[in-house]
Symmetry: C2
Subunit: 149 residues, 2 copies
């Protein structure tokens, strides 16, 4: 798709009174190129000149502006990816052994069914502004070879 991610990012940051600075642009680039959720250590690895504290602050701002999404996987590291409307709707495969996060998609017919079931559950429990989080938790190829009993 031909979305201008940087233009959208600049606009969303502006909407919350934030500037689209060099380091923020860099982080967005890194996430877009990765195409999967990255931890902050991974982001720093790709950008050795970026200080750790700047990475944390940058990602906090980008998250707040709706440019990136923070996801909680199975290990102690937070992970970040571009917001879904800047990439595409997808789900995550989480490796319980190494923490790897990969993306996958569900048939759209199933997504539709899920959506209505979720809407019903949310309304039943008085939850609002609900998004769903559908993940698979298991062992990735590498780990099932290593740790597979």
């Amino acid at each position: 798709m031909g979305l201008d991610v940087h233009a959208i990012a600049a606009s969303r940051l502006g909407a919350v009174g934030q500037r689209y600075t060099t380091s923020r642009r860099t982080v967005v680039d890194t996430l877009q190129e990765a195409g999967r959720p990255l931890t902050i250590p991974e982001i720093l690895e790709d950008n050795p000149s970026l200080p750790q504290s700047s990475a944390y602050r940058t990602l906090a701002v980008l998250t707040q502006a709706g440019v990136v999404r923070r996801i909680v996987a199975v290990d102690e590291f937070a992970r970040f990816e571009l917001a879904e409307d800047l990439s595409s709707h997808h789900h995550h495969l989480l490796c319980t052994s190494c923490g790897l996060v990969a993306d996958f998609e569900l048939p759209s017919t199933l997504e539709v069914e899920l959506e209505s079931a979720f809407a019903a559950a949310a309304s039943r429990h008085d939850f609002e502004r609900v998004q769903h989080r559908v993940d698979l938790v298991g062992l990735c190829t590498a780990c099932s070879v290593t740790a597979g009993s």
Copy 2:
């Protein structure tokens, strides 16, 4: 249901060479009574005489024995609930504001469809021993009143 949770817990602990001690029993009771995932601070609140380190160690052992399940919500706190075969299959509603976790269920027909879609996705990505994690993330009643814009 008439499951004897304590008997099962004792048996599962035994299977991994662990004893079913008083504090472990206490934690299991607390989780069963709560009927929703609890953080360690919440567990300690319910059991003021239980030291923090014992709570962490107890829950680590119970998790390893398959008596409880550790879940990652949206905040920094790990949460624990009884294993599904000691309670029932369900999903979670997560409040992004206060971190509250509530339970909900999906129609069993939808569960079946999901299961096969997940199996397909997992096999496509060479993931093994896959479990699913289907949660809704939003604002609980209390928080949507307070923080609802």
